[in-house]
């Protein structure tokens, strides 16, 4: 684990891989670092944002972060969400070919897996989901679509995701959901906050 400065307004904690990043998130949730205003988890890092005017500032946060001892394999705690999916996505056949499963097999693997939101990014409300079924690890499409509809349930690069709103995208589409994963009038606005456990259910 490395603790790096982002000026006086942030501390970046870096680990070796996504598993360690999730364990680090878990450690931060169990043992919050005083003085941190917001956290931004990513694939190999967690950014701790700091109020530069707070006592001790970034230096105190860096010292506290260096004392964290993430437990290997730990997952951050979070709420649980079930997302209903109609598995009629345009790329279901391709994903079946890539994984060597049948289309039915892909649906069963996707609904059978336990998913955790690892981090956000790409667009407000977009959560990168990691699952426990490595068979669903497929690459992005060679070419991005100019428009992927909101609610599209997709896979790419070892992650799962649900498009919060219509946008361009290169992920492989398995199906769609009516679940609103991003709503500015809701508090919290996002359904897929890092740490949230997700199951998909076929409808």
């Amino acid at each position: 684990m490395r603790v790096l400065n982002c000026g006086d307004s942030g501390v970046l904690v870096e680990v070796a891989d996504l598993g360690e990043a999730l364990a680090l998130q878990a450690a931060l949730a169990e043992d919050p670092v005083p003085g941190v205003t917001e956290t931004v988890p990513a694939a190999r890092t967690v950014l701790l944002k700091v109020d530069p005017g707070a006592p001790g500032g970034a230096r105190a946060v860096a010292a506290a972060a260096a004392r964290l001892r993430p437990r290997p394999g730990a997952l951050p705690r979070g709420g649980e969400v079930e997302i209903e999916v109609q598995y009629d996505g345009a790329d279901l056949g391709e994903v079946a070919e890539l994984t060597g499963l049948t289309e039915r097999g892909v649906v069963e693997a996707h609904t059978g897996a336990h998913w955790t939101v690892a981090f956000g990014g790409f667009a407000p409300g977009f959560g990168y989901l990691v699952g426990d079924d490595r068979r669903l690890d497929v690459p992005r499409r060679g070419e991005s679509r100019t428009r992927v509809p909101a609610g599209s349930v997709a896979l790419a690069g070892g992650f799962g995701g649900v498009y919060p709103r219509s946008s361009p995208g290169g992920w492989r589409l398995l199906g769609r959901t009516d679940a609103v994963v991003w709503d500015l009038d809701r508090d919290p606005p996002g359904l897929l906050v890092p740490g949230t456990r997700v199951r998909f259910r076929e409808v």
Binding site: D8, G10, V40, P41, A42, P52, P124, P189, V193
Partner: protein, 306 residues
């Protein structure tokens, strides 16, 4: 929305109650937006902080009209903003110093101005600096989005940039009253601006000469600059590590170096995460001065410790 009428002196003029005021935008200038202290608490899901780019000038404007911290104000870029008061509106102009006319009278920056019903506030082009703030007593009362009235030009959250014809409600005046007629602020803008920067978090991705260049050379603010970030022209900052950095969280003030070598200094609307290495981060106290650097300004970075 449940609106209460004003209290105290703002309530009456000649014994007659005056309804809550508003500002009508007659001209927005090159770019004018509503800004407050920013949108907090949703960074983990990709929502940036946004807020006034020059937080110091914004805070001074609010203090002048006795607003609570965080009241929404207007941020005008390169002046040109023309407003008309509906009802009595107390206002203050801070930030990039520009010619000000209030109700047809010459006025100054950083003083408390009264606009009577129908009177106009004109901001000319600033002599120095880039961003001028207009605070009104009671704050600009547009509906908040995720707890903030700031326009985030990157994510599109918050109110759209101002257009001629927009009518902006003014909120309930605070209980406190302005205690000063005018307040001296720090000098805003200049041809050459010195900024303290802390090396890292990814200075080890760069060759030693890149760090030397960053601290020795001057960097010019280019025209490809906005509230997201300022693109800087200067000597190349060669890398020591090739390959791709996994996307990671970013803070305002980050000097991110994309492969084309022109560093970007991230401002208020910067993306929450980024995939290029950050060689250094400008300290928070110097960000307001960075945000006032107009294209052509030369920036000098001085190494400071946290």
């Amino acid at each position: 929305m449940n609106r209460r009428r004003g209290t105290g002196a703002d309530e009456s003029e000649g014994g007659r109650e005056v309804a809550q005021g508003a500002l009508e935008v007659l001209a927005p200038g090159p770019l004018a937006t509503v800004q407050d202290a920013g949108r907090h608490g949703h960074a983990a899901l990709g929502v940036g902080t946004s807020g006034a780019a020059d937080a110091a000038s914004y805070a001074l404007a609010n203090r002048l009209v006795a607003n609570p911290e965080g009241a929404a104000a207007l941020e005008a870029t390169m002046g040109g903003l023309v407003l008309r008061a509906r009802g009595r509106v107390w206002a203050a102009v801070t930030g990039a110093p520009c010619p000000v006319r209030a109700g047809g009278r010459g006025a100054a920056c950083a003083e408390v101005l009264l606009l009577r019903d129908g009177e106009e506030l004109h901001l000319g082009a600033p002599e120095r600096g880039l961003r001028t703030y207009v605070a009104v007593r009671g704050g600009v009362d547009v509906p908040p989005v995720l707890g903030s009235r700031s326009t985030d030009l990157l994510s599109g959250l918050g109110p759209a940039p101002l257009r001629a014809g927009d009518v902006l409600p003014v909120g309930t005046p605070p209980r406190a009253f302005p205690v000063l007629d005018a307040a001296p602020g720090p000098r805003v803008g200049g041809d050459r601006v010195e900024l303290g920067a802390v090396l890292g978090p990814r200075d080890d991705w760069f060759a030693p000469e890149a760090v030397e260049s960053l601290l020795d050379a001057e960097f010019e603010v280019t025209g490809r600059s906005d509230r997201v970030g300022m693109r800087l022209a200067g000597p190349p900052l060669p890398r020591a590590v090739e390959g791709e950095l996994p996307t990671e969280g970013m803070v305002a003030g980050s000097l991110q170096v994309p492969p084309d070598g022109e560093p970007v200094l991230f401002l208020a609307d910067h993306p929450v995460t980024g995939g290029y290495p950050v060689i250094a981060v400008v300290r928070a106290a110097d960000l307001p001065r960075a945000a006032q650097a107009r294209p052509g300004t030369r920036l000098v970075f001085t190494a400071v410790s946290v």
